[in-house]
Amino acid sequence: MKKIKPGDIAVIVFFILLAVVSALVLWNGDNNKKTERLIARISINGENFTSVDLNSINEAYYIYPTEGVSILVENGRIKFAESDCKDKICVLKGWLDSKGDCAICAPNMCIISIEGGDIDAIAG
């Protein structure tokens, strides 16, 4: 290395500390903001049908991904409203409003899932 002087090290250390402090201050406060983004993914037959940002909904509306299935989208939550399947497990599931939530209508091959969450997958 060329001419590095003790003062240089001091400056560098100062800035590193500054970065650490700003990280502690900014990142903890920001956690709430980060987790608010709720994105729901709807897929049919394995293909992505559409994604919805649940936080940006002003008025509730319906999505009809395939015949016999209707999905209701409201601010912050989404659910299977109606389905022509036999068991209606998907409809009975009710509202999906947290990260990692998902509802599956197997006969119609339709899946609603909310991105994120601490769990990577559910077994069973």
Binding site: K3, G7, D8, V11, F15, V20, S22, A23, W27
Partner: protein, 186 residues
């Protein structure tokens, strides 16, 4: 005698302009060269190596603040013409803020802490301040405050880039000195 003085100044002025012109073009070239290195843009767009800072540092050390600001302005105008208004505002805000901070820092060095710091610190200060100023302007333009989340990253990146730029500055200083013909402190 008066005539001779006038000639001297005139000569000095033209030398001055020529030198500044050459330095400005170097700053532009360095800016173009570093755009060819794509590996840097891992975080926010606009985080770059800042090789042009080498020129600014040289000018601050051997010329004066106003000359440095002129070169920064020239570089930003170039950016305005080639990349548009947004890039211009980022470039000029980062450039001005960094230059002023570096100038103040130079005062510190040559005054109180003489001999304890080298151009590496100056370079680090410049890089960090440049990034922070750009972030502030970006937040203003895009009307978002999500970007403040990146401040810690930018500071660290600034330290690293500043260090690299400072080291490069020290290596190429002898080349830069050859450009500047005689003393031109005005």
């Amino acid at each position: 005698m008066l005539l001779q003085d006038k000639n001297e100044i005139y000569k000095k002025k033209s030398k001055y302009i020529a030198t500044v012109g050459i330095l400005t073009s170097f700053a532009l070239i360095l800016g173009i060269v570093e755009n060819q290195l794509p590996s840097i843009s891992l975080t926010l767009p606009g985080v770059k190596l800042g090789l042009a800072n080498i020129i600014v540092m040289y000018v601050l050390e051997y010329f004066n603040v106003s000359t440095a600001l002129i070169i920064v302005m020239a570089k930003s105008l170039f950016v305005l013409v080639t990349r548009g208004i947004v890039a211009f505002s980022l470039s000029i805000s980062g450039g001005f803020f960094a230059t002023v901070c570096m100038a103040l820092f130079y005062l510190l060095i040559s005054g109180i802490l003489r001999g304890r710091m080298s151009s590496i610190s100056v370079s680090v200060v410049g890089a960090v301040m440049h990034n922070l100023a750009q972030l502030a302007v970006f937040a203003l333009l895009m009307k978002t405050d999500v970007v403040f989340y990146y401040i810690p990253y930018l500071i660290i990146v600034g330290v690293i880039m500043g260090f690299i730029t400072g080291a490069i500055y020290q290596s190429v200083l002898y080349m830069l000195k050859r450009i500047h013909i005689g003393e031109s402190k005005i």
